[in-house]
Amino acid sequence: MEKFKQNPIVKKIGFNRIVLIGVLILMYFLFGALCAAMGRASFFTLARVYSAMNYAYFMGFLAIGVTFVIATGGIDFSIGPVMFCSALISGYMLTKQNVPLIVCLIVSIIVGTIFGLINGYLVAYLDMPSFITSMASMMLAKGIGSAYTKTQSVSWPQGTEAAGWYRNLVKIGNGSAAIPTGLIILAIASIIFAIILNKTKAGRYILCLGSNKEAVRLSGVDVRIWEALAYILCGMLAGIAAIFYVGAYTTVQPGMGDTFNNEAIASCVMGGTSMSGGIASIAGTFIGVLIIAMLQEGILAMGFQKDYQFVITGIIVILAVYADIRSRRRRN
């Protein structure tokens, strides 16, 4: 085992990530076996894979965003409802107010970014605890989204309609010949944000201030800008996630979205991002998202309700946080 850990290729990818990929593959076959044992339709179909990926796309953007916030040592509980708020406002504009699609997509991103700005300002400049501010903006997002659409749900256009081309962002074509554009975009976005986190000044300062904000401040760095930036990126990505959500599912209901927060945060923690800040991995988050999506799909395929998924996600979060704390204790 030690020898395997010391292998240069293993070290490069990261032992924890290899374990996660192993878990992902194991889960796939486990769900397959369970479905077969329960006499349900086969889990090993392309349709199942696409369905799981639909869930992974929007979840991926949410999780990447919240990875930045957690890297600063903060938390954002508003991303799910902010995503829905974005989708509701822009969708209402598109379907009821005849605003062109491209403008609506931009509006979606702007709405998310505004929530990010609010959270970032309150946390970084007014020193409010992120736990509370993001709870508050979660309620704001739910209320505003719902008020804007007069508590109606919004159905974005189908792919066959004129304004339905946005769905190509998720998938082009149908059946086995379909191109999973969503996966390509998410993968590219993951790489870009991984580079931002690891290779740029913003990422460097975000990780450092997550580890010891006061030491960074006393080095003459304006920590507030960088801390706020993490929340702004997170909000912006929630706005982008909205596009991929409606691209996959078309319909959004007001007053919902909080369950996605927990799953996005769970993805981060599973992927090795430390809840106490300073350590974060976009690649880990990416794999974490795939696991969450697989879980969702597997539970569904077995014919269980979403509550089973909550139970399992809850257990996973506890295990992941426990592993994080243990490895931290060993380091000190």
């Binding site: 580079i195 290779k199 740029t200 000044k201 460097r204 300062y205 990780l207 450092c208 580890s211 010891n212 006061e214 030491a215 960074v216 401040r217 006393l218 080095s219 003459g220 760095v221 304006d222 300073g278 350590i279 380091r331 000190n332």
Partner: protein, 497 residues
């Protein structure tokens, strides 16, 4: 003075790398106030912690009421009647006075807490002390002085026979101190043994019967207070032995330009009207006792804490410093006394910490130029002789001295001309210490200027060209190194209003 109630004999205690107590003796009698004195780090607090079971002693015996004992923990010590009134009050401000006094041993009525009974008992305690405090008042609403009284009430409620006061007067006003002394005399007259730890020379003369002096973890001696002078005590505290050669003459030219001038700096209670000048190539020592306001002065100057007033001139030009960023932009670097909290990011690498203040210069477009960053980090690892396997090693894995070098590298990379070294050798072993000293001398030889805050007298006398002494947030004097002695520094450091 009565019989001996407590004897500590040959108490020895080592921590990794530090011999904190070297066969220390202490004797407390019934009905006396014994002062325990010594410089910062002399071992007073450690000795009291050994007594009350917070630390385990390595050697020695403690005899209490004629029996040899060793308390398992402070609770056991309390139960036996040995209690400490801490300098930092351990109070829960949102609970009532009575609830605080009886915390951990609430008077119960079955499973319900009996607040009424606790209030009654508190009143009885206050009556014993001859003071009046409403037991139903929230602790947070009381003045610090009254809170201290409650702490004392709590102590005597344990049926205390020995009470240790750890710098009780630090936060009190004159009137409150008067009242405190009245209570202490009262307790003494009731036959309790009292240990009084304080730096305030005048108080020692007023309130104590005997003085035991410690220095560098050793027992120096005990004097009868009324037969000795302040100077006798100071001489015992500083000792005649000087371990390292002090500087005899300033290395700074008489006409060296002033690089930093601070005028009438005010910030909170701990920085009151502080003015001083720093010359090019000078090491300006800041001496004083714990809580003299030296770190607070440095932090206010650096923009780390808000200021209420004061002017700062750099190279003759007036500047505004409101944040650390302003200070750094004006070429000031600050090495904190608390490295792990304020100096380095322990979870990050040597290279990342080195470029923390200068990241802008290591960018190639949008990206950090890792190669250039590593080169500079290596350059300083080599020139400062930092012991680290690679520059990618997390600084948490480095020793204290090497961590300090990483912080120094950070400011050297920034090319700061004014460096504030706040306790630069705290928690650093002897070898690394002299390396840091050599480095500081090299830096001033290169034309940089250093403000060095230090609680170690020998360090101050060895490194400084000039010494500013502070006491209670005020600058009480300035001494050229040629005239500086341990005695005159200590004199200024204890010169209170």
């Amino acid at each position: 003075m009565g019989d001996i109630i407590l004897t500590m004999k040959g108490i020895d205690k080592s921590f990794p790398g530090v011999h904190a107590l070297d066969h220390v003796d202490l004797e407390v009698r019934k009905g006396e106030v014994l002062a325990l004195m010594g410089e910062n780090g002399a071992g007073k607090s450690t000795l009291m912690k050994v007594l009350t079971g917070i630390y385990k002693k390595d050697e020695g015996t403690i005899t209490y009421e004629g029996k040899e004992i060793e308390f398992e923990n402070p609770r056991a010590a309390q139960a036996a009647g040995v209690v400490i009134v801490h300098q930092e009050l351990n109070m829960l401000s949102h609970l009532t006075v009575a609830q605080n006094i009886f915390i951990g041993r609430e008077i119960m009525n079955g499973q319900i807490i009996n607040d009424e009974k606790m209030n009654e008992e508190s009143v009885k305690l206050f009556q014993k002390l001859g003071i009046e405090i409403d037991p139903k008042e929230k602790m947070g609403n009381l003045t610090v002085g009254k809170q201290q009284m409650c702490e004392i009430a709590k102590a005597i409620s344990h049926d205390a026979k020995v009470i240790i006061f750890d710098e009780p007067s630090a936060a009190l006003t004159e009137a409150e101190i008067e009242e405190l002394f009245k209570i202490i005399r009262d307790l003494r007259d009731k036959g309790m043994g009292i240990v009084y730890i304080s730096h305030r020379m005048d108080e020692i003369k007023v309130i104590t019967d005997r003085v035991t002096v410690m220095r560098d973890g050793t027992y120096v001696g005990t004097l009868i207070t009324k037969d000795c002078t302040k100077d006798d005590i100071i001489n015992m505290m500083v000792g005649r032995v000087i371990y390292e050669d002090p500087k005899t003459q300033s290395a700074v030219a008489k006409d060296a330009p002033v690089v930093l001038k601070v005028e009438h700096l005010n910030a909170g209670k701990m920085v009151r009207d502080v003015s001083f000048e720093l010359h090019k190539g000078e090491i300006l020592g800041f001496s004083g006792l714990m809580g003299a306001g030296r770190t607070e002065t440095a932090r206010a100057l650096f923009g780390a804490d808000p200021k209420e007033g004061g002017d700062i001139y750099i190279n003759g030009e007036k500047v505004t410093i409101n944040t650390p960023m302003d200070a750094v932009n004006h070429g000031i670097g600050y090495l904190s006394e608390d490295r792990k909290r304020y100096g380095i990011v322990v979870g990050k690498s040597v290279a990342e910490n080195t470029t923390m203040a200068t990241l802008k210069e290591f960018m190639s477009g949008l990206f950090i130029n890792k190669k250039k960053e590593d080169e500079v980090a290596w350059k300083y690892v080599e020139s400062l002789k930092t012991k680290t396997p690679t520059v990618d090693t997390e600084v948490v894995n480095l020793s204290g001295g090497n961590q300090q070098k990483v912080v120094i590298a950070k400011w050297l990379t920034r090319n700061c001309d004014i460096l504030i070294f706040d306790e630069p050798t705290r928690g650093i072993d002897v070898g690394a210490k002299s390396e840091i000293y050599t480095l500081m001398n090299e830096l001033v030889a290169q034309g940089k200027s250093i403000i060095m805050i230090s609680s170690e007298m020998t360090e101050v006398l060895r490194m400084s060209d000039r010494i500013v002494v502070m006491c209670e947030g005020r600058k009480t004097g300035e001494i050229d190194i040629a005239e500086a002695t341990q005695e005159n520094i200590m004199q200024l450091a204890t010169q209170r209003n």
